[in-house]
């Protein structure tokens, strides 16, 4: 295997004012692959994603290593970090209703990523933005560029978000529940667009989700997080062979189309699982 794009060892994160770590000793690597992170609410998935981009100003982040290619992210200054964000690593946020600036035109907002990282004219950046909007399958991108976020649908908003975050051609993209705010009818469409772009461009993708089925279909590998730790790492196709009781519990709690209509299992949580892993 070639050397990973991201290499994280023993990552700890504590929010300012909190009495315990929100993330406690997480380790993983990411190659040019699609890595899923699943786990229940509050298990620390988003915290890991945001820490990778150093977006948690109030939190204390420590790790043996948090390396992006051969850059040690934790030893970069904020100024150096600005060159990484958006350009080398970016993140797709959850809900376009909130993650797009409500009073700026869509085209402007997309082009801003390009303008920020490349020396070029506004016009050039605008053309790049239009080409990228085409790539996320937006019909009539010139018109959409002139619209405001409240004038476009959620599915289209999330495609705009994808365009914005892939425009500067990053190597790593973190997608934090990219479809959970969307109508079920457009989820698959948006995921397929993201998936094909990520594959074509050889981007390393971290897909954060609650949804085991989604991760099973769109990822190569899956990390299962529980209470700030990774309890198990599996190839997506081996999810059913999971060993850890927490993962098995998660699987049992998933509804299945065409499955038996028994009541869904309720998740079992045990304090001893916190201790046994990542030692």
């Amino acid at each position: 295997m070639t050397s990973p794009i991201l290499d994280v060892k023993n990552l700890h994160i504590r929010y300012g004012g909190a009495s315990a770590d929100a993330v406690r000793g997480v380790s993983f690597t990411l190659g040019r692959e699609r890595l899923g992170i699943v786990g229940e609410s509050g298990s620390g998935k988003s915290t890991v994603g945001r820490a990778l981009l150093r977006l948690l100003p109030s939190a204390k982040i420590t790790a043996e290593t948090m390396r992006f290619e051969d850059i040690e992210l934790l030893s970069l200054t904020e100024k150096q970090m600005l060159g990484i964000r958006g350009r080398r690593m970016s993140m797709i946020l959850q809900d376009p209703k909130f993650s797009l600036n409500p009073i700026r035109k869509v085209g402007d907002q997309v082009a801003e990523t390009y303008l920020r990282h490349f020396k070029c004219s506004r016009k050039e950046a605008g053309e790049k933005a239009i080409a990228m909007l085409e790539a996320v399958k937006i019909r009539d991108p010139e018109r959409v560029c002139e619209q405001y976020p409240h004038e476009i649908s959620g599915g289209m908003g999330q495609r705009v978000m994808i365009a914005m975050m892939l425009l500067a051609d990053p190597d790593v993209v973190i997608a934090d529940e990219p479809t959970s705010a969307l109508d079920v009818t457009v989820r698959l469409q948006v995921l397929n667009i993201l998936d094909s772009l990520v594959r074509d461009r050889g981007i390393g993708l971290i897909m954060i989700s609650h949804d085991l089925n989604l991760v099973r279909n769109f990822c190569d590998r899956v990390l299962i997080m529980y209470a700030g730790r990774v309890v198990e790492t599996l190839a997506a196709r081996d999810l059913d062979k999971a060993q850890h009781p927490y993962t098995r519990g998660l699987l049992a709690a998933q509804p299945r189309i065409g499955g038996a209509r028994a009541p869904l299992a309720v998740l079992d949580r045990r304090p001893e699982w916190l201790e046994e892993v990542s030692r």
């Binding site: 977006l55 958006g86 970016s90 409500p102 700026r104 500067a168």
Partner: protein, 340 residues
Amino acid sequence: MSKRRLSLQGATGQIGTILVTLLGLLILTFIIGRMMPADPVRAIVGEDATRETYEQVFRSLGLDRPLWEQFFYYLGDVLTGDFGTSIRTGQPVIQDILHVMPATIELATFAILIGAGLGVPMGVIAAVNKDRWPDHVVRVLSLFGHSMPIFWTGMIALIVLYAKLDLVGGSGRMDQFYIGLVPETTGFLLIDSLLAGEMDVFWSAVNHLILPASLLGYSSSAYITRMTRSFMLDQLGQEYITTARVKGLSKHQTIWRHAFVNIRVQLVTIVALAYGSLLEGAVLIETVFAWPGFGQYLTSNLIIGDMNAVMTCVLIVGVIFIALNLLSDVLYRLFDPRTR
């Protein structure tokens, strides 16, 4: 097409609202006029007038009519631009007000420039550094400005900065020496002196303006700071700020290009409101600095119960606030795409 109709409907609705508000305002001023403890007839005829003269004037003012009829007379007068004569000055009220208003506008305009110039940056700095030392410093500064007794501070400042140090001009709009030197064209001394080419008068006026305007500005900056801080905090907590940072924008760019741009309409609105209260309420400063403005005019008339003058002043204050509200509505429509 349908969008245009909608905005047309909005405009008609707005005009309707304004008309109703104006009517309400007129009713209010009318009631204030009738409830004033002064006797307008006595004020005209004097203490020693005979009963007959009194009754005659009483009738000629229409005071023997039912109230609603009186109100319609009043309405008719206002609509034809007749605001009556001031008992105190013997001049048409409107002429008096046109004479005093420029002094107040000059003062209030400088004050609001200072107030917003201080308050907006301080509010942004406080929000960006929430709960760190710059925030605390700003809080103390604006608390001080807010609770400063302006009458007292004004006097101390006059004693120290004018009488002792002679850094600024004293009371009045210019040095005694220059009074009457430039013809009153617009009423704005700064403009009139420039028009007349009298630079000495101009600088004297600036010198006299600077202290009261700074004091007023500082005290109104407290409110502007507080509001700016809370508007900014609100925006900085939004998810689109995270998006901007993920794109690689610096803190500075995120604050000014995203958060600040998004609060400009709210800012203009509260600055306009602060300006409105400066236009109406610089009474204390005008008294301390012997500034011949609207605030002084209103108080002197209130004290002697000059009904026509007081009613017109109240009406003007009301109209100023209606106009400012209208301005903020228009701004929202222009700058916030969600309201279109």
